[in-house]
Symmetry: none
Amino acid sequence: MNAELKKRARRKAERPIEILDAAFEEFARNGYAATRLEDVAARASVTKGTIYFYFETKERVFDEMIRYKSQAFFPELESYAGTLEGSYSARLRALMVFVYRKIAEDRPFRETLRFLIADGSRFPDLVDRHYDEFMRPVIDQFRMVIEAGVAAGEFRPSQASTFTEIVMSPALLLTVWSLLFGTRRQIDVAVFTDASIDLLMRGIDTSR
Amino acid sequence: MNAELKKRARRKAERPIEILDAAFEEFARNGYAATRLEDVAARASVTKGTIYFYFETKERVFDEMIRYKSQAFFPELESYAGTLEGSYSARLRALMVFVYRKIAEDRPFRETLRFLIADGSRFPDLVDRHYDEFMRPVIDQFRMVIEAGVAAGEFRPSQASTFTEIVMSPALLLTVWSLLFGTRRQIDVAVFTDASIDLLMRGIDTSR
Amino acid sequence: MNAELKKRARRKAERPIEILDAAFEEFARNGYAATRLEDVAARASVTKGTIYFYFETKERVFDEMIRYKSQAFFPELESYAGTLEGSYSARLRALMVFVYRKIAEDRPFRETLRFLIADGSRFPDLVDRHYDEFMRPVIDQFRMVIEAGVAAGEFRPSQASTFTEIVMSPALLLTVWSLLFGTRRQIDVAVFTDASIDLLMRGIDTSR
Amino acid sequence: MNAELKKRARRKAERPIEILDAAFEEFARNGYAATRLEDVAARASVTKGTIYFYFETKERVFDEMIRYKSQAFFPELESYAGTLEGSYSARLRALMVFVYRKIAEDRPFRETLRFLIADGSRFPDLVDRHYDEFMRPVIDQFRMVIEAGVAAGEFRPSQASTFTEIVMSPALLLTVWSLLFGTRRQIDVAVFTDASIDLLMRGIDTSR
DNA sequence: GATGAATGAGCGTTCATTCAT
DNA sequence: TATGAATGAACGCTCATTCAT
């Protein structure tokens, strides 16, 4: 009976998470407005009323789902960045591989981007948060490596340090591609990443 | 009375277009599901019934709005590409400027991308059409210039010709940035374009 | 050109009839409430506006359609009744055959009954009219023959003269059967008529 | 509180029935298409939403209302038929009285017939069901008695056993009369029944 | 006479939200 | 905690009716 109790307690504690997981799937499938809380409830194996026990409104379910699903890239990134070593070129390459892979493989990240593009105007806080906790840290890490590389004479001085966004733009394209075409026009992430790195590092032009 | 007649006739002919223009604004503001046809009607200064005189369903309004708003980049691109001359490097730069500007300045293009990212799964035909009439033509133009440049020995052989998407990815980032942050974190398109071109042409790395 | 003019004039004169014919078909198919004037118009090869040129409202279209479709049985019946001769038994048989056939074969009659059963409460005048111009005359004719037959000693005195409805009830059953089951459970009208006549004339019982 | 609970539980269980009862009244008054679910709801003292909690569509409300209202004549008839005894003539009379009374007194039966005549084409299953559960059983009972009577030499062989419908046709006339004229031209059921029985048993004709 | 664009009231249906249990 | 019956506002869509041409 103690075991039973514990199981129940554990389940109780996990309820909100189960609901948010279900919400993620449903919102991802239909978008914010077209998702019915009833379907979220069904997917989480609870009833609508239960959702309202844990969350005040549909907006809150969405909001907290996003926060829950998009948390924790920041520390991951920082910690990875801390391990970088060797030439700045190697560091930049490694960072790009890391970020591209994250973006390409992390469905929650991808769908969060979809949510924010679709309904960001209704949830401006989430957009800001996404910038602060994903976009900016990534840009900052790129900038730091690039600036250090320039200082070390390894990279030529260029706009790349002011527009670090450029360096992550192929990764974003990968994401948008996936959001638009799903599995229909899949791009080989590894090869695409290599190509992007190659291009950004060495350029197209031979006339230098 | 002749003037009256003409005005009426002209208005009649323009009704569907006025409705689609209004639909664009409302769908852009709220997304597909959260847009009320009543609001579209009000913005177009007609009543709900009138919309249904011209369009069968809300879906059709959306679909035809997208088609109407995203038409005609293809010929524009082809015609521009036909005027390219000079070194392949110059041609590629010119093409990038042309495409980046289009993407950056054309709100219908931007919002169409938002629509497709948000509700593409409900309108797969529109997604395919967008690929066929925008993405692929752009990619093809880039590829042609790059391959010619490589053949002429002006560009080094690289993955750039197999992953031409990379070349347009900064432009896509510009779009997504705008969709996400609106005017809050605006990027200077001209400078960003220059930077992107510079980077893609010459690369970051100095070690060559 | 004179011919053209005449044709046009004729068509013009026939327009309302064409509309009422079309209305009959549509109302028969869907009932009053579920019929769209647009469909009536289409079937009559005119536009909705034209219907309103000839009829004030949908109710009037229905009303006039019923009057048009159910007219003229009265004189037909009277004139037929005038031709009856021979024994009263033969006259009654002939009258039953005449009435049964009319009911069985006349789709407008059948559908009118459907209309009145379905929407009679909305059109009480039509119901009264149907009674006055169909039900009562039929009953009266039966009654006259029966009473004359009784007076002549050919028929036994019975309730049949007060409840003449009974004599026409098999015909009504035929109608209802058709309205309910369409062609699914068709009854052979001729044989059924004979059987009904036989039964009503001679009875089931042998113990007399 | 226990009383409260019970009352609530009972109400909950009765809700669908209350709705169907209300639906019966409204559909009977206006027909299927012209009935507003809002009025059904009001009559049942609930809101529109509640109806949709119990029934999927307006069609389902109608369908289930018919099934609920027209159930259970079959067993009643069988059980009554089991009690018949005495001469076949007496049995047939008794059966006719039983069926005629049922038809005359049972408003749900009458209105069901109206529904099926009016909207049967939209609900073919209901029409079939009505045939299987009302028309055929009645016909079969009549046929069995008549055939037994013929076998016993009490009835003369006639078409009455192949067209048993004739025997129930006066009852159907009674129904149609009521559907058409309501209380305006009421027929005295008892006397009409007697007259019908008399006529069908003995016939009009004296010339035998 | 005839058209057909336009209206607007109305209805079926949905769904976020509430609340008694 | 959790349920699920109940609500009611809202929205897509329909269609009888009008009216300028």
